[in-house]
């Protein structure tokens, strides 16, 4: 009975298709170079239909703001997480409102509507 429940729980866990990102309200800290600010975001992939994510930095109108990260589109295996260091120029600090991560959908041989999930954390002034 226990093994049946465990198997059922495992199947349910495997079937979960979720996208998560923390922190909700990140803060900038001084970077390693003068005039550069950095913050770290952590992204979790519980979507078994997604293998790649994209990160972006935006102003209050969701206009993109230039930033630097190791990768803007990066692979993220199912049930794994990644920490991404994001760097911006100090003069853009007050313009930045959101950091968003978005799932990237891989082309499939089916006529369907896929769900692109996007989570946006916000900088509070």
């Amino acid at each position: 009975m226990k093994s049946l429940l465990f198997t059922l729980g495992l199947l349910l866990a495997i079937n979960v298709k979720a996208h998560e990102m923390v922190p909700t309200y990140p803060e900038w800290s001084r970077g390693i170079y003068p005039g550069v600010l950095t913050t770290t975001m952590e992204i979790f992939n519980k979507r078994n239909d997604v293998e790649y994510y994209e990160i972006g930095v935006f102003d209050k109108d969701f206009e993109p703001i230039y930033f630097v990260a190791d990768y803007k589109v990066f692979p993220l295996k199912h049930l794994s997480s990644i920490s991404i260091d994001v760097y911006i120029a100090k003069e853009n600090k007050d313009r930045v409102e959101y950091i968003c991560s978005r799932s990237k959908i891989i082309k499939e041989d089916r006529s369907k509507t896929a769900v692109s999930s996007r989570i946006c954390s916000r900088f509070r002034s």
Binding site: V16, K17, A18, H19, E20, M21, V22, P23, T24, Y25, E42, F44, K46, R47, D49, Y98, C100, I105, K107, E108, D109, R110, S111, K112, T113, A114, V115, S116, S117, R118, I119, C120, S121, R122
Partner: protein, 166 residues
């Protein structure tokens, strides 16, 4: 006497050392989680229409938002307005789409989500004022211009579900 004092001192020192080394562990968990509950499927009820309407044989995509912090997030769900994958099309496509609350974990706190939503074109914006889970379903229909037949092939369109911190 001296021996007892030394043992007591060592014992207290050990206690102090233990107290100083007690670890405090914590995990920061997401306050908003987007889960794809059901993937949508387009049906082809006639030559020039693709639709997720279940009465035509399609399947509505359903997305779940789990929120553990009230009044902290907006849910923005955008129905497709283009194909991300398709064969070359002979004419323009007219898109219609809408999002509705499908189910909720807290009927009292979330009951007004549908009436209070803001619609901006194909995007529906919900203020997530209560903690818990909300399921949203999105309909999508794509009609090819001039009632021309869709070429054979695979068609994919994206519903974008966003959880935006307030």
């Amino acid at each position: 006497m001296l021996r007892k004092a030394i043992i007591a001192a060592i014992g207290l020192g050990a206690l102090y050392a233990n107290a100083a080394e007690v670890p405090i562990n914590g995990t920061v968990q997401s306050r908003c989680i987007i889960t794809t509950d059901t993937t949508g499927v387009y049906a082809n009820p006639n030559a020039y229409t693709l639709t997720t309407d279940p009465t035509s044989g399609g399947q509505l995509p359903i997305v779940r938002f789990d929120v553990t912090l009230a009044d902290a997030y907006y849910a923005e769900i955008t129905a497709p307005s283009e194909f991300s994958t398709s064969p070359t099309l002979p004419d323009v496509v007219t898109w219609t789409g809408d999002t509705e609350v499908s189910a909720m974990s807290d009927a009292t706190g979330m009951g007004s989500y549908e009436t209070n939503k803001v619609e901006l074109g194909m995007t529906d914006k919900y203020d997530l004022t209560a903690t818990g889970s909300t399921w949203f379903k999105t309909s999508s229909t794509a009609v090819l211009g001039g009632n021309r037949a869709y070429p054979g092939g695979n068609y994919t369109a994206l519903v974008e579900a966003s959880c935006i911190a307030q």
